[in-house]
Symmetry: C2
Subunit: 214 residues, 2 copies
DNA sequence: ACCTGAACACCGTTCAAGT
DNA sequence: ACCTGAACACCGTTCAAGT
């Protein structure tokens, strides 16, 4: 093995868009092996590139994962926005539809979802773009809650940010536990998890509509 | 370094209870460094023991973590049981008190909580004792829901297992997001997170008491 | 500018050997 | 029975060197 030329032939040097290719390979690997199964060496060789080439494009492994998470939050924000808009047009409840959309997003984009919330890319605060994009997604929920309060469709007795946290946490818990199989009334089907999300949303909304103090 | 005796002196050979000491060192390390910062080499040297001594007591790293998780579920189950019993005596709502107890447990036992839910010890199903202990904890919630339904204090219109999943997911989401600082209306204080848990519980219960269809 | 291979400081795990 | 150190097959990351 020592005498042969190990370097690549001339033409193959510059990868057309290595940066995006790295992100794509990471997403693919995470969906196949889970996020803890992702190694830089593996995605390097998947792309026919040295295992250190990545450092030309990302500071480290965490930065690559942060990029995947960032992309996830963008998709996520659009999905929430779309759910609200469709609910408004259809006369459906926008908060309930966001809950279902949250779970559908998590199911359809498991690689992104794992990366966003597994903590594998370190604290969000290490990557400021991540914080602001996450806030953007949260704001879709928060502003909708404020609108619903203003229209007196849900109780205005509580801080909307607290309500947003509570709703977010509920659906996040369902998605997280559902995806790893830690839910007991759940056989693994996508439809059933979304149904649980819908029921949770309806119970919360019924509570938020009730006049009784709580 | 080569000529000196590296082995331990006679008397120090048999650790009094290495197995439990390993568990304790793991918990301590996780609380200081987080679960991803735990290495077998480190806890070995903490206990003044070879880094391979652990394999006399646990099949592998995952098995050690599963033991920590198992211990966590036992503490957790007792905490839930106690919360229900105290609520019954005090005339408080048992489901609401369980929610607060869930969050208090997560805060007071962060090492256990991380280990139970981080997935670092692999799927629960790799460790059957873990599954049955988790089911035991879940059953405290489930049986309480059934009792509340039987007493007509909450709606009996829905499958109690689904309701248990929904409540569990809600409080689990709050605890998880709160512990890693991904909640927006939350400054990091224990009391505030418990307050959010209480509010979430009250909203869900108000929804479950309401007669309107949802 | 971009990519490479060798090297470094880590991991978990196995295993023949010691007491 | 219990524990050890050496060895193995992995990691992420750094860096001087190549084109």
């Amino acid at each position: 093995m020592a005498g042969q030329p190990k370097r690549k032939p001339e033409g193959a040097y510059h990868h057309p868009d290595l940066e995006q290719a790295l992100v794509g390979a990471a997403i693919k690997t995470i969906s196949e092996q889970g996020i803890e199964g992702l190694t830089l060496r593996d995605i390097g060789s998947q792309l026919g590139v040295s295992r250190t080439a990545i450092y030309r494009h990302f500071a480290d492994k965490s930065a690559l994962l942060a990029r995947v998470a960032l992309e996830g939050f963008r998709i996520f924000r659009r999905a929430l926005r779309l759910a609200v808009d469709k609910a408004r047009i259809a006369g459906a409840d926008p908060i309930e539809e966001m809950g279902v959309a949250y779970i559908a997003f998590a199911q359809a984009n498991q690689s992104h979802y794992q990366t966003m919330f597994s903590g594998e890319c370190g604290s969000w605060h290490l990557h400021p773009e991540l914080v602001s994009e996450a806030e953007g997604a949260f704001d879709v929920l928060l502003s909708t809650i404020k609108e619903e309060q203003a229209a007196a469709r849900i109780s205005a007795a509580h801080d909307p940010t607290k309500l947003a946290d509570i709703i977010w946490a509920g659906v996040h818990g369902l998605a997280t536990l559902g995806l790893v199989g830690q839910l007991f009334a759940y056989d693994g089907s996508s439809a059933q998890l979304q149904e649980l999300g819908r029921l949770q949303g309806r119970i919360l909304l019924a509570g938020l509509r009730s006049e009784g103090k709580f």
